[in-house]
């Protein structure tokens, strides 16, 4: 392989790369937020005791998880008449939220049923049991798979280039087209993706371990309290 690298090209096209980077970050943040909201809603529906809510949650997950992201974006952009950014964000939100809903559903269902029953027995309502007992614990156990999906969202922002949004991957193509310096541009973009992904992954790791320490102490306290209640009864 005899390719002469020419790194100054990155400085020359720094505006394109930076613009692409910020657009990628914008799509990433909006995509994560919208998919978290939709994912929590449909995850809770999917874990519901009501048959229609469960069916709704399940259909949502199957429909949006089993179609490619690029098809959704094209449908929204060319078919439904949204502009490029709307199509990208809605498409990302629908796509990633289906995966998240499935994660949240199984997270809720992983909490032993006895906890529901214990909650009802102490006189809490269904909402209170959900909010105070089930969701905090489920929220904790879903952190690792949720992190994986957040990182998927980061990578999937690149699909927005297909509907001509000038994000990072799109800009590497522009630089290739202008200067035939695709390698240098692709190297820079690759490092940027890896750096952002690394920061997000490290953040999730720290969050999990912090919460782990806190919950552990709280759970032990609760256990002692519960043991006392049982003993008194």
């Amino acid at each position: 392989m005899n390719y002469e690298f020419h790194w100054p090209v990155l400085w020359e096209y720094r505006d394109l790369l930076l613009e692409g980077f910020w657009i990628t970050m914008f799509l990433f943040v909006t995509g994560v937020l919208s998919s978290l909201v939709l994912g929590i809603v449909f995850g809770i529906l999917g874990a519901s005791h009501l048959r229609w809510a469960r069916a709704l949650g399940e259909i949502y997950v199957e429909v949006f998880r089993n179609t490619p992201l690029v098809v959704k974006m094209f449908f929204l952009y060319f078919g439904a008449g949204f502009d490029a950014y709307e199509s990208a964000i809605i498409g990302l939100g629908l796509h990633q939220s289906a995966y998240l809903a499935e994660i949240f559903r199984s997270g809720i269902q992983a909490i032993p049923r006895g906890q529901f029953e214990a909650g009802f027995a102490t006189g809490l309502t269904r909402t209170q049991v959900m909010r105070r007992i089930i969701l905090p614990q489920a929220g904790f156990i879903v952190i690792p798979p949720t992190t994986t999906q957040v990182l998927e969202t980061l990578k999937n922002t690149s699909v927005a280039m297909t509907i001509s949004i000038p994000e990072l991957t799109f800009q590497t193509q522009q630089i290739e087209a202008y200067s035939f310096r695709g390698f240098e541009a692709a190297t820079a973009a690759t490092l940027a993706y890896l750096a952002v992904g690394g920061i997000v992954g490290a953040g999730a790791y720290i969050l999990e371990h912090r919460l782990n320490r806190k919950t552990k102490s709280r759970v032990t306290k609760d256990m002692t309290a519960m043991a006392n209640v049982t003993a008194a009864a």
Binding site: T67, A80, K155, S158, Y193
Partner: protein, 222 residues
Amino acid sequence: MNFSVITDNLYFLSTGLWTTVHLTVFTLIGGLLLGTPLALARASGHRVLRLPALLLIETIRGIPVLMLIFWIYFLLPHLVGAVPAYTAGLVALIVFNTAYSAEIVRAGINSIDHGNVEAGRATGLNLVQILRHIVLPQAFANMTPALMSQAVMVYKTTSVVFVIGIVDLFRAATIVNNREFKPIEIFAFVALVYFIPCTIVSRYTRRIEIKRMIRHGTFQKA
């Protein structure tokens, strides 16, 4: 709504679907064939094998598949001369799938109790024999659900190789759309062609998983 645009272009769309199908099949086979040795390297006790494997897997998994497609598309001509877009796309998909498959295979190997290896050693088998006759058969049985999910993932992911000009199902659909401009009908139809097999496989996968959980006694009814 006028779905005659689909029936009129059915032949063209089906040639695209055929490309998508063989891209998927080759990618799955290639990913598994290359992913297994990569997983063994990644799980190896030797740092010389483990660290490069780790770096390779994490880099590939850390970047968008589109980025990977462009990398291969730029890189291949410098290494082996001009290649058709199909080859570049297939190589990129295989590289992508190799990294993911390697992680699945590694998890499968880790799921096998180490006592199996020791028992194999005790009966005088060498490492390759232990892997081939004891560890890998059990590991692959445990990996079936994960590999099927990965197959669904690959089938959907092939839809992005159209960026380098491969006429797969999705590219065929955009070509038809450019000529007829019936985006709602065309993309809804394409979504359905992706949706049906993916849903069948993912439902079946879930059934196997539940069966396995019942067998291991870890299943709790929702």
